[in-house]
């Protein structure tokens, strides 16, 4: 059985290293400041005992006033998982750092989020539309699209 790690416990570990990076933590997940997302992600991947080497999925949710990008991380070795989230409040030009350098599996999923939500992932090798065509107006999965 995959153990879902408590966001609070992991948050305390992260706070030791990067103080002030965790915005919010619940037993289910933890929300990280978007500018420190990459550091936290690297910490989660490379710290012994956590070893989150597998990225299950990346997705985004539109809450009108902000976008929430969710990363579900797993460790195949320890068989535990953790949901990490980051928020962007800028609706015009939302941006987050890309985690493709850490988990290559995020490649197409980040492009998908860019396509359907318009969140720009900085540092992604080819940030362009994936499902819709170049020249398409708007981002369909945003709640205010049609």
């Amino acid at each position: 059985m995959t153990v879902a790690l408590s966001g609070k416990e992991v948050a305390s570990k992260i706070e030791e290293k990067f103080s002030g990076s965790v915005v919010e933590s619940t037993p289910e997940n933890l929300v990280v400041k978007s500018d420190q997302l990459l550091d936290v992600a690297r910490f989660l991947k490379e710290t012994g005992g956590l070893d989150f080497d597998y990225l299950n999925f990346v997705t985004a949710v539109d809450y009108y006033d902000h976008f929430e990008v969710a990363y579900l991380l797993s460790s195949l070795e320890h068989n535990h998982s953790l949901m990490v989230k980051a928020r962007c409040y800028d609706r015009e030009n939302p941006a987050l750092p890309s985690v493709t350098g850490l988990w290559q599996g995020a490649d197409f999923q980040e492009r998908e989020i860019y396509d359907l939500f318009g969140i720009n992932f900085e540092g992604h090798p080819s940030m362009k539309r994936i499902f819709l065509w170049d020249g398409f107006e708007g981002h369909p999965l945003r709640k205010d699209y049609i």
């Binding site: 499902f131 819709l132 065509w133 170049d134 020249g135 398409f136 049609i146």
Partner: protein, 205 residues
């Protein structure tokens, strides 16, 4: 369809993407109305097509007995299409087991699956590449009207008849292979009725 002059070749990915996006947008703007079914406009064209009247029946027999299918199966219905080709339903009995990957050599396009605007130019191109005479069977609800996905208007074309003229519609989501075979038989009847030449017109001349 007039042939466009050969374009300058594009090597940059970004330019290519932009070009393709433009093609899609143009097609989307063009095809807001369904194209009427071929029955309504094909007769006029055929008047110019002169062949010996006595061989009409033979030609139609040949054409309906060997309908080679173009490979253009976007989505779910493809599997019922393949099942119809498979051991149990066996379209090969009608001489249809040859799936021509090159549209130039195919006679029939079975549009098995949802059509999206991104795919639409490609389908139009495949249809244009097919040599006359050619037929289209719209297979499944998505191919007829967009079906279950019709309300995702930003991506889904509401029916293939916006893009290409359709001869036979086979409803179902997906249609069973039996339904497809029935549709094919309908098409065969339609081909059998087809006049390659109107005798009276020739006599008048």
């Amino acid at each position: 369809m007039e042939i466009e002059p050969a374009k300058k070749y594009i090597y940059s990915d970004i330019e290519l993407d932009r070009e393709e996006g433009q093609v899609i947008e143009d097609l989307k703007a063009q095809s807001q109305q369904p194209i009427p079914d071929p029955d309504q406009w094909l007769d006029e064209e055929l008047e110019q097509n002169i062949l010996l009247t006595s061989v009409d029946a033979l030609i139609n027999w040949g054409r309906r007995s060997s309908l080679w299918t173009a490979i253009c199966f976007p989505a779910c219905c493809a599997f019922e299409m393949i099942a119809a080709n498979g051991p149990r339903f066996d379209l090969a009995r009608f001489g249809m087991e040859i799936l021509r990957a090159s549209p130039r050599q195919a006679d029939l396009m079975i549009t098995a699956g949802t059509l999206t605007w991104k795919m639409a130019p490609n389908v139009r191109r495949i249809y244009n590449q097919m040599a006359e005479p050619k037929w289209v069977i719209a297979m499944g609800a998505c191919a007829i009207s967009g079906g279950i996905f019709a309300s995702a208007e930003y991506a889904v074309v509401p029916g293939y008849n916006r893009i290409i003229p359709v001869d036979v519609y086979v409803p179902g989501c997906p249609p069973r292979p039996e339904a497809l075979i029935y549709g094919i038989q309908m098409l065969q009847k339609k081909i059998a009725r087809r006049k390659n030449i109107d005798v009276r017109k020739i006599l008048e001349r």
